[in-house]
């Protein structure tokens, strides 16, 4: 200890030291820019492909709503867990959060989603609710109603030959409306996601 007691007494009697001791408070630190905050809109045009809603792990966190200037995803802060999957899954780059969007651009990473439908043959009552509720079916065949029987074979699924047949699984967008409408929990949609990285080709 090279300094003596009188040094400390002189130091503490200074007005500057007293002012700092009694009045200065450290301000709460700023949030760094690389923190994964709630996703914000970038201003790019949203095509309402709903890829962000399909990959979100929390119920009720993100919805794509239509306002007067077009479709936009809306995040609810009380539900969103700030995971950043919707930012990475969007093909247009409509959402941004921290450094996720620019890392995705530099690393060429992404998610490849496919959707598969499975029907439990024992529980299915062939009521046709799923075929009528499916929004893709509505676009393909607007006349499809009343227990899901019809003559159009371009729909994803319909009641044909006495049972529910899945005709075009590749058109499924994974919205799970059929799963929620089924009264017996017979039909299930699997959202299969694969995390891929396509490195840039040289030359």
């Amino acid at each position: 200890m090279a300094t003596s007691l009188s040094y400390y007494l002189r130091e503490m009697a200074r007005g500057e030291w007293l002012r700092k001791f009694l009045f200065v408070k450290t301000a709460p630190y700023e949030t760094p820019p690389h923190f994964r905050d709630y996703p914000r809109l970038t201003g790019k045009e949203c095509t309402h492909c709903l890829a962000c809603m399909m990959i979100c792990p929390t119920p009720g966190a993100i919805e794509v709503l239509k306002t007067e200037n077009g479709w936009n995803p809306v995040i609810y802060p009380g539900h969103c867990i700030r995971c950043g999957l919707c930012v990475e899954a969007c093909p247009e780059g409509v959402l941004m959060s921290g450094r996720i969007l620019e890392s995705q651009f530099y690393d060429n990473t992404g998610y490849a989603s496919t959707f598969h439908i499975t029907v439990d043959r024992v529980r299915c009552m062939r009521c046709g609710n799923c075929s009528v509720a499916c929004p893709v079916n509505k676009e393909e065949d607007p006349q499809l109603a009343a227990t899901g029987t019809g003559a159009n074979d371009a729909v994803i699924m319909r009641v044909k030959g006495g049972e529910l047949q899945i005709l075009h699984e590749e058109k499924c967008t994974g919205c799970k409306t059929c799963e929620e409408t089924c009264p017996n929990s017979a039909i299930r949609v699997a959202r299969v996601v694969e995390a891929i990285h396509v490195p840039e080709e040289e030359g």
């Binding site: 709460p28 630190y29 949030t31 119920p59 802060p77 969103c80």
Partner: protein
Amino acid sequence: MSFLQSIKNSVRSKSIHVSYVNVGSCNGCDIEVLAMLAPRYDIEQYGIYVHNNPREADVLLVTGAFTPQWEDKLKSIWDKIPEPKVAIAIGNCPISGCVFNRRGSYVDPPVAKHIPIAAEVPGCPPRPTEILNAVLSLAPLVFKDYEEKQS
């Protein structure tokens, strides 16, 4: 506003005692509350003292999605706290159940059904700065002119 009331206002906004209760959380939000004690965020410089005694507290921090075991106990803890008091819900779990709000789980969100919540800090978990802002801005508002509001 009498002189005594203004003294009470200034004392209550500069000396806040906090107690926290975990009604079924994953500990992420509790660790962020503990991180506020660290010299970096330093909650004690504002006069906020984090202990765990409901009898001496002004502010109750609630974390966690409500599990069935706490149904009677949370109400009794809330009743033990003397007036004036305020409860703040930290994190997504007391607001909406976070990811646990699925069919088949034991949780019963939101916590506002069981005790009156005055403010919510969303996030999973929220940053210590966000919690600090909530506690600092809410407490003086609630405790200001408390006696005059009662009459």
